[in-house]
Symmetry: C2
Subunit: 457 residues, 2 copies
């Protein structure tokens, strides 16, 4: 056993260090569709913050790359390790340390999964409102990617729901940022800086998240549109209405067909309506009180009809849940349909029609397929990309990302850049910003051990 | 005229450069109660981002300190310039460039004041929801301090309402961060990093802020309590209730007496109730619909009585507005009452009773006065400090800040550290964090020209 392995074994205990054959495929990457899995040289499973700190101290000393891993459900290959590196898997640091019902926060270890946290918070009628489609994702992974999900339209993304961190710097120093406080103007906001940094700045070892009261009454409304532009134009109007939907998704006709087929879900939409539909809106409303909810559903129905929906369906509980689940699984559907990539450009809400029509034009020119759905309320468009030829695909992606940026948007709304979109991002981003970010990276991680190859080359 | 003055005059135009006697007291500081005003050597009033960039390039070249100034209403002396430095006053860059009613954002120059923006957005039924007590404050100043104010309990602070910046780095490089998009996971969040950095990282030259629909129906409820602990304990219960107040302030008895006296405001509270009151809660509710508002006011009344309020008053429009205004002017009341400092510690909401009682004990020991009010919904306690002796005051502040931090809070919830609280912050903060922040500062501003003396020595 080499020096480093020995030291790591001392830190985390023999049985929590994997090397050689013991490193399984599980640790070789995340769910990104592009690139190949890479097994790391070492997998460590620390149990405490001190162990994480000791691992990072060792890694800095020996200049060994370190990749943090939550549940590996990310879509940007940011949890894909370096072949010579250490993968720090947070699977054992998964405790829910505290549900504080007076301050409305939970304090968790990074490996805690969203489903575990959901279950625990449900007991007190509260909830952590970041719901990316994948409930096996970890809270640490949410911090890494600044995860969004369906409810972001009402509750915001991870950034808006994480109040504090304990984090370990590359040097092994342990800091605390923020806390159970909803605001602070006391020095730079390190919490916000670490969120979305994809494991390149610091490793979060304890996370304080905001909890919201669960509103007990909910309704899901489905509205088919015969025109894609119209569906997109409807979105800002719904956001402005004051109805405050907690879900506002669009699903294009092909994706709807695919996900309902996969889920064996019949929504009771007459064939005639379905055949004439180019896209659908799914709108979720919730309230403390049934009467208010009923009134709001009524108002929403009228609004949607006025905005050009060909019909409005209030789904009953079972199909509503199934449709939302099917939508959450859209990624798997796209994958099994043979999608070559999945992207999640974000644009100003009102720019969605233009973005989508230009993306389709670009795709048509290269004979590629782009179909999808998205968090319409956030201007966040998820597109499955079907183009086998790597060069054509790269040029297609480049052009689509460029359009998104030209319209005032960004390459990724919630999945991150990671390794998967790095080349495009580095090509399209303002070099002054990239250089500034690199200097910030160095401020945190002078030896450059944290997730090298992610974001930057 | 020296070299530098000549260059600055070339950049902004003769008439927009002030030196010597032409530099008035107005530019010598902000509203902080501590320390002495300092006139800068140069005041420049740029009209464009390019001019700001040229000023900063010149300043970096000659190693001249630069302080940004909005309206100078800050309370941390962060807009107090360096005697050898350049004050960049944004008074001419005050245009409201766009009110985008589909994306619900406004794009403004930094010098635009809150009252100007409020007036312009009102026309379209939207509003920028950061309302610090001072409507002459600029949006750029809000970015500098991460301003909060009364509505933060519902709408969040500046951090939650600024989506994008155009900013000039110390080197003169101009970058754009974020935009009209509600989320992004595309590299480090530079927007969030600049917010709250008190002019030490970059100067914002264009700001994209989120707008919210104005809810047309509102009510203000006043509830006296005979016990300070009870009033504080009521706060988390109201936050949990789901009534989503947009104002949730506490005002202690002495402050209430002072502000109503100053405003010549009679609230119709019987002497007996008033004499028995230790503190008050002011709760604002708003809704799209009158019926819902009425029901919520009813529910709030019952909740407050159950929580120990000795009475519940629904204020009629005129007195409600006057009381809110008087509360916003509490700072001026404290100042004219001879307060020696005003602080704004933030703690977890549930820790407010303990914080306040310990702050009072500490004050009693040094025979100092601490009275105040605060954004109770945010756990943000504003205390007027009455202690003439500087040494005693310093030790008093140190001890109060230490208690706030011990309870999981931070020295400032919204006013910032600036020059005013720097010594205490540097003494009490984790050195590893201070060092990290200094390295981040250097990443932005290698020559250290941006607001030296603020935050760091
Ligand atoms: C079917 C499906 C649907 C999805 N839907 C959505 C969606 O709607 N919205 C959305 O935002 N995402 C979605 N995702 C992506 C994914 O679920 C999120 O990105 C999630 O946040 C990843 O969590 P994880 O624990 O799996 O992270 P991982 O994949 O393990 O890691 C993600 C990143 O975080 C870093 N990281 C992990 N732990 C830490 C830590 N403790 N400290 C610092 N950095 C750390 C990693 O290094 C990596 O850079 C979906 C994924 C799938 C498979
Ligand atoms: C009566 C009264 C009540 C108040 N109530 C509240 C309250 O409830 N909540 C609250 O948060 N604050 C409150 N304040 C403080 C103050 O109003 C806020 O801090 C406000 O944000 C300051 O804005 P300004 O334009 O006056 O900034 P200034 O005082 O001019 O500057 C503040 C900071 O921002 C920096 N800055 C200014 N412009 C820029 C720019 N373009 N780019 C980068 N940095 C910049 C400055 O360098 C400085 O560090 C109150 C003040 C008063 C006088």
């Amino acid at each position: 056993m080499g020096d480093v392995a020995q030291r790591l074994a001392e830190i985390v205990g023999d049985q929590h260090l994997l090397t050689g054959e013991a490193v399984t495929e599980d640790y070789a990457g995340d769910e990104a569709l592009v690139g190949e899995p890479v097994k790391p040289r070492y997998v460590v499973k620390p149990a405490t913050t001190d162990e994480v700190a000791a691992v990072l101290t060792t890694a800095t000393e020996h200049r060994i790359p370190v990749t943090a891993r939550g549940s590996g459900s990310g879509l940007s290959a940011a949890a894909r390790p370096h072949p010579d590196g250490i993968l720090v898997s947070f699977e054992r640091m998964n405790a829910i340390l505290e549900i504080d019902t007076t301050n409305h926060v939970a304090v968790v270890q990074p490996g805690a999964t969203l489903s575990e946290l959901d279950e625990r918070t449900a007991e007190s009628g509260l909830g952590y409102t970041v719901y990316p489609g994948e409930m096996s994702a970890s809270v640490g992974g949410n911090v890494g990617t600044n995860a969004g999900g369906m409810r972001a339209v009402k509750y915001g993304v991870t950034r808006n729901n994480v109040l504090g961190l304990q984090a370990v710097l590359a040097t092994g120093e342990v800091i605390r940022t923020g806390g159970k406080i909803v605001k602070t103007s006391t020095g730079y906001d390190l919490t916000q800086l670490v969120i979305g940094s994809e494991g390149t700045l610091a490793l979060a070892t304890e996370i304080t998240v905001r909890l919201h009261p669960r509103l007990t009454h909910g309704a899901t409304v489905l509205a088919p549109f015969s025109d894609l532009d119209q569906v997109m134009a409807a979105v800002p109007a719904i956001v402005s209405s004051g109805l405050a939907p907690h879900i506002l998704e669009y699903i294009d006709a092909l994706t709807m067909a695919a996900i309902t087929y996969t889920a064996q879900l019949s929504l009771g939409i007459p064939d005639k309506v379905r055949d004439a539909s180019q896209a659908y809106l799914v709108v979720g409303l919730e309230n403390r009180e049934t009467d208010r909810l009923d009134d709001d559903v009524q108002a929403l129905g009228e609004l949607l009809s006025g905005l050009g929906a060909t019909d409005v369906y209030v789904l009953e509980g079972g199909s509503a849940r199934k449709l939302i689940e099917a939508r959450e699984k859209a990624f798997w559907t796209a994958k099994s349909a043979g999608a070559d990539d999945v992207i999640d450009v974000v644009v100003p809400r009102a720019a969605m029609p233009e973005f989508l029509s230009r993306a389709r034009e670009i795709a048509a020119k290269t004979e590629s397929g782009v179909v999808g759905c998205g968090h319409a309320g956030d201007g966040n468009v998820h597109l499955g990309i079907f183009q086998k030829d790597p060069a054509k695909r790269a040029s297609l992606l480049h052009d689509i990302f460029a359009v998104g940026m030209e319209l005032g948007g960004a390459i990724s709304g919630e999945h991150g850049i990671g390794r998967a979109k790095k080349e495009h991002w580095l090509e399209l981003e303002d070099p002054a910003k990239v250089e500034l970010m690199k200097r910030i990276k160095t401020a945190f991680d002078p030896a450059g051990i944290l997730n090298p190859g992610v974001l930057f080359d």
